[in-house]
Symmetry: C4
């Protein structure tokens, strides 16, 4: 069996969705890529997290062909494929319908940086990605979901590791990361920040984003060459 | 003992209400039907989910007569009976007082399709069912609850598997499904969608339902002859 | 040791507060009474629920004297005492600072019957009990808390088993029951109804209480001589 | 290994953050001090709570020098250091990004005493601490965080055990206590009070703080020479 360690990581990351509270039923999937081989793995469609094993992970290449796996891959596979092709720096992707992030997606409201919790993970406002057109939906829904995400981050000149989250209008969030579990952690952070923002806006409807010098400081404590958070092993 | 497999399924579906967070105390019941024999089973009234066994499930026929069982069936039995008689396509029914769906029921607000989470399960707006009249309440409360539900779906020309949920005014939701656990899953989905809608409406009071082409797409990914979600075994 | 069964019931009812989500830290206490002997038991003050044993329950008489027990009884003992003296029909009392019921207490808003979940447990609007005066607080705070509760229910001509809950202004709820665990169940129901009401009011600020015929029906399904909910053993 | 009991207490207090619901990921840290030796310990940066052992706790002196420990201390170490130097009466400090307290921090809203739950722990309004200036952030962010906290409590003439919590603007809460676990308990109480306040304000936007005589009474039931809550062993 190819890439047993990658399969293990992806399986573990998918299973982490349940205790994290990010998913109900089977509404969520995580993938991860091995850039050396160009192969990536994703959760099979509609399979319970509790029953998922590393062998169930479906391996796909960067042309979208299933390389190894007997189960049908996630229905969102073409979205992940496009993101891996266009964002060379990412190693993992998580898609969930987590409660509060989805509230912002549905409401079509971007998520400004209202505090350091947000700054620690997302360098500025988490953007909303436009709805797909009827033509896009009809011809290749999941592919164009990826296209619209890439288009939006490029438009805003944001790199996917500086801004590892988007909110798709009418739908739900996607997050990215250095590897599968890192993208799950960004989904956890996004959900928390969305929940905090909803409450803060209730308390102060005119609330402004945090000052740039605090955003910058908190982000650089955790990211980049001068990071000093953690034990120095990322 | 008749229909041991059906009893097992109904028991398991009732027990699933607790970890799903849909019920507190004994506020919820699930039933399931075997169309071949015309027999259906339901939770006994007021029994703790933790102590429920397949033998406790009360079997009833389509005339409403208890066929097998020593316990008193759920006080909502006549509601389930009417739904099984009128909706030949359903195989399971769940009634809970789940938190957010009940907020909508109490407020008398229908639940429009505000996102793909909703579209995946409910083909459009989840309707509110009218309150019963004093006369209906007095003569046969639980029976007329079923009557009002059937009346409402027919009025809206909705099939109960396309729209497997209703919100009864002043009361709480009922959901349907292909079998007992499927109706529980629709209750889980309804609760999640109601919670998301409450948050989204707080963020954007003028929010509109999602465009028809996205509703259609998401619903047909999961339902009908061209569904491509899951492993093809429903 | 006196009344081992009562001690067991009170201990179990106190321990049920934690998994029910009604308490954090040590903010809650349950008591129960044996009317035959006129002795009642209550949680000792500030003791962790996890470590509580039936032997820790402090037995008190209806004059307020500790009859058996080495620990100091709950700081709210005099409130419970007054309620047992004045309300001969109750067998258990629960006091918590449960989240949503406390929101209503703090806001000084009574809790009207907005749905059948409420009607199943509380026969009408759950009342707010006035704040104590500086003089009452100074002379005997916990005693006058009980006095104000009794005064309020009498003023409204409500019996404590028909309306087994009050919201004390600036403070938190008290609930009553036929026995210790029954009062805990009423606290669970009150918390759920308060949470539902908060959400329903957000969705429909002008919401009206449910019609009298539905309140009556739901209450009498569960209470009184014509109740038909449950297995007939209360 | 120095101070094994202190290490044990600090480890246990950090681990208590997870079941308390106060932290997600690694967003929180607890420290505790041994005033006799002037040594204090803190969680190492970015380490999972589940894996934390007493040996991992990093011991630091009151000059900020690491005395014992192989891991890098929390990135917030200098904040804790300044608080221990300036507030001789405190024995423990907790910093989390707990959901509702952080909503108030982000919104820049202080938390008035809206009920007895609050009065039991915090003697009046929990204050907001100002944002740091660009210069402070650049020169020594974590040190000036401590400076701003001390400055704010002194300005308000509040002692850190009477008011063992602050809300840092754009950021999150810090709480204090007599020892490590006491500061965690204050974080739990703060989170609960913030959550209750948000709900109460939704129900009654013009709500006023509780009367002084009730605040005083509840606080003094639990604190100071005339406290009569608990078993008399604090």
């Amino acid at each position: 069996m190819l890439l047993p360690e990658l399969r293990e990581q992806i399986c573990e990351a998918n299973k982490a969705l349940v205790p994290s509270g990010l998913v109900r039923l089977t509404w969520g999937n995580v993938s991860g890529i091995d850039r050396a081989s160009g192969l990536w793995g994703i959760k099979p469609s509609g399979v319970d997290y509790a029953e998922l094993t590393p062998e169930d992970i479906v391996l796909v290449d960067l042309e979208g062909e299933v390389v190894e796996g007997t189960l049908r891959p996630s229905s969102d596979t073409k979205t992940h494929l496009h993101l891996y092709r266009e964002f060379a720096e990412i190693g993992g992707i998580t898609h969930t319908h987590s409660l509060h992030a989805t509230m912002f997606s549905q409401a079509g409201r971007e998520l400004p940086c209202y505090g350091t919790t947000h700054a620690d993970h997302f360098h500025g406002t988490v953007p909303v990605v436009r709805a797909l057109t009827p033509k896009e939906v009809e011809s290749d829904y999941e592919h164009y979901t990826g296209v619209a995400i890439v288009e939006r981050l490029r438009e805003l000149k944001l790199s996917p590791l500086e801004m590892p989250a988007v909110l798709q209008l009418h739908h739900a969030p996607f997050t990215f990361g250095k590897h599968a579990m890192d993208s799950v952690n960004n989904s956890i952070a996004l959900e928390m920040c969305a929940s905090m923002a909803l409450g803060s806006l209730t308390l102060n409807a005119g609330m402004q984003p945090i000052p740039a010098h605090i955003l910058q400081k908190h982000h650089l404590r955790k990211h980049g060459p001068n990071a000093y958070y953690g034990q120095g092993k990322h």
